[in-house]
């Protein structure tokens, strides 16, 4: 049997080999935690080695800083440029590298072999900053119109991203561009492939992040066609608690279930609620607090480490829900736990995540709340355990959901369907349900 590492290595070398052959580019689909950043850094290093000047395009300053830091570590001698906006203050992890030059002007960085910047910054750069190769990170979250603004800067591109996460969106509702191959609202990958169907598409086969309990579930629900496996084995990841509770309240039951199986559904009584359901917000906060109180320790292939606040995240669908959880945490005197919307949690990794189910307490499901990418982000950020918090009644809500979405000609059907993905995940979670009455 081939080990996970070998599988991943084989996929990477095939990708790197394709880079040498392609006329136009390569697309790499990367499921959660499959080593996307590692691939970006390796590809960048390989291209630099081959004497190419490259640009790296990421979507946020945070992501650019991460990649800059990792590339500088991986290639100690490489001259690296960090292209930035005028109000950018270099992060410590960028400033500590002697090989990294920070500038707002691409011309200042002309001598650097690799230059990294956000897509928005690159879009404001003139054509003389062009480079033969671009590596685009989080390409499924980049909108087609943004790619249009940077595409004149490179001849060939490696686009890397997670197709299971959220699609880019617009505040404008219009059917004006449906069916056009260059519909500006689709993702950068979609537009590229529709115009260049010969571009090879690879998929990374192994998730280093998701534990063995999570990978098959997430793979089946959100990546039905490509699929992936966990890099670690059945019992390699586990959570233990350094304290024992007096008695066993529902929070502890949920924690124990999550620690034991990697999943828990913390189910509150069925009720139609406001979007900022105070009880759900309180439960999310209380679970996070309880993980900290109980002194959770994560055991993994990396050894044992205490699960501190920075290793826990609470994910929500809406900003006001995140607000509500934050204020509940503030009241409990807890800081350091990441609380954010699915959109903001994309690309991030924690030991434990607590997910406020987007359909909790709702009377009707909307396309927004059913979107498979949202649920996928919320349930695939964890290395050890994911606790889903929801009011009872989601299966019934799904059952009653009308299927009346419009269908547009010449628009590729997107899989998985949000309804199916939700159904699949709820079916799985029903085995790990803890009723919080």
């Amino acid at each position: 049997m081939t080990s996970a590492a070998e599988l991943a290595e084989r996929a990477t070398s095939e990708i790197l080999a394709d880079l040498g052959r392609t006329q136009r580019g390569v697309v790499v689909d990367s499921p959660p935690g499959a080593g996307k950043s590692t691939l970006v850094v390796r590809a960048a290093a390989a291209l630099a080695d081959a004497g190419e000047k490259i640009m790296v395009i990421a979507q946020t300053n945070e992501q650019v800083d991460d990649l800059t830091d990792r590339l500088a570590d991986a290639c100690p001698g490489l001259m690296i440029g960090r292209l930035s906006g005028s109000d950018y203050i270099p992060a410590e992890r960028v400033a500590r590298h002697d090989t990294v030059t920070v500038s707002t002007k691409a011309a200042d960085l002309a001598g650097c072999v690799a230059v990294l910047g956000t897509a928005h910054k690159w879009a404001m750069t003139s054509a003389d900053a062009a480079r033969p190769w671009a590596v685009v990170d989080e390409a499924y979250q980049m909108r087609s119109d943004l790619l249009l603004r940077v595409a004149h800067l490179f001849d060939r591109a490696l686009l890397v991203g997670d197709p299971g996460q959220l699609d880019p969106f617009s505040t404008i509702e219009t059917e004006r561009w449906t069916g056009l191959t260059w519909d500006p609202m689709q993702s950068a990958v979609a537009v590229l492939l529709r115009h260049n169907p010969d571009i090879p598409v690879h998929a990374l086969p192994v998730s280093w992040r998701l534990p063995a309990m999570a990978a098959p579930v997430v793979s089946e629900a959100f990546y039905p066609f490509t699929g992936f496996a966990a890099a670690t084995g059945e019992r390699e990841r586990r959570i233990e608690f350094t304290t024992r509770p007096f008695g066993m309240n529902v929070l502890d039951q949920t924690l124990e279930t999550a620690a034991r199986s990697g999943w828990a559904l913390h189910e509150l009584p069925a009720r139609h609620s406001m979007r900022t359901d105070a009880e759900v917000a309180a439960a999310c906060a209380a679970l996070a607090v309880r993980f900290l109180q109980r002194g959770a320790v994560a055991h993994s292939e990396r050894g044992a480490a205490s699960v501190g606040g920075s290793r826990i995240a609470v994910g929500t669908a809406h900003r006001d829900q995140a607000q509500a959880v934050r204020s509940a945490l503030r009241q409990a005197g807890v800081t350091g736990v990441t609380v954010d919307t699915a959109n903001s949690l994309q690309g991030r990794e924690f030991d434990v995540t607590i997910a406020w189910h987007p359909l909790s307490g709702r009377r009707d499901a909307t396309a927004f709340h059913l979107e498979s990418g949202r649920l996928c982000v919320l349930t695939s950020r964890h290395r050890h355990a994911c606790v889903v918090v929801a009011r009872a009644g989601i299966p019934e809500l799904l059952d009653a959901h009308p299927s009346t979405d419009p269908v547009y000609l010449n628009v590729p059907v997107k899989f998985p369907d949000g309804w199916e993905a939700n159904q699949a995940l709820m079916a799985h979670l029903s085995d790990y349900k803890v009723r919080a009455l």
Partner: protein
Amino acid sequence: MKGTEARLARIRGRAVPRNHNARTIAALASNPGCARRAILDAAGVDKQRIAAFTGFPAPFGQSRFALARGNAFEAQLKAEGAAQLLALLREQLNLPIPKAHYDDLTEVGGNTSPELRHARTKSLLLGIARNTGDNGTMFDHPLLRLEVGGRYAYLEPDLIAFRVEGKFSVVEVKSFPVIDGQADGEKVAAAAIQSAVYVLALRDLLGDPGAVHHETILVCPENFSSRPVAAKLDVRKQLAVLCRQLSRLARIDDLLGLLPPGLTFDLDPDDAGVPRREPADLAGAIRTVGARYAPECLNTCEMCFFCRDEARDDTARLGKSTREELGGIEHIAAVLGFARGTGAPDPALAEAAVTLRAAARLRADVLGEAV
């Protein structure tokens, strides 16, 4: 199932059961949470009739101009052995030249009985599916059959199934236009789910899901002309939706269990067929089956005016997004009670109460008058 069938027959009463067709099967997905609709459909009740009888006739009608246009477009495509459709399939879907067979299944030797036509369709298509030779391309008006809630529904499709490379495809002819590559999303959605009904029925007939493409072909007039244009529709999602709804119909017993035992929607006709039942009495019987009204029903369900009237004091009639903003509170009076701070305290709704109170305060603050 026997007991269920008897129960449904009693609910329907003496009226002739309404048969399902592709349109009504497709409509199963439009409000699956509505028990009233599920019961009425399962029992084959004529919804239009009972809605009108209770004083809430459905707001649907069809213009003869639209009908005529639809019929003329279909006739034009199918004239002379579907010559125009064949040219289209060749041009846009690369149908090879030798594939030009045309079998008319509209009638069997002048007889149009559904059983006979279905038998003929079945023997012809099965014969062809089992035979590897290229001896069938277009099949005009095949008569298919699908089990819906324990009864067979005959599907009278205005379609031609065509077969190439050993696989059947479903062609759906619609008369709404495709203009510069775009068509009305809702109309395409309706066409897609209807095609999916045919795909399902055709798979059922052939006993082999792999024998029918999940891509169907939609043929519409192009731009402002009556020249046809074809588009492929991937109906995998619609197939999943349909299978789900059909399996729900099979579970109709769960719903029946909740209803009063003697329930019937019979109109109690006299010998001349004139109903003797009091409309108010029928309305009362209908109300014993819970509905899930939403304004979207106004586009899809014959009972919509009845249910809207029933929901006049509910937030449901204000639309889904309004109700969502009101925290899902069901009654208009309750919302206003909370907004004015006069509502009975209900811990389950405490949060909604706080929000509504705040909204009322802001509104009063700006308008200078209490809400």
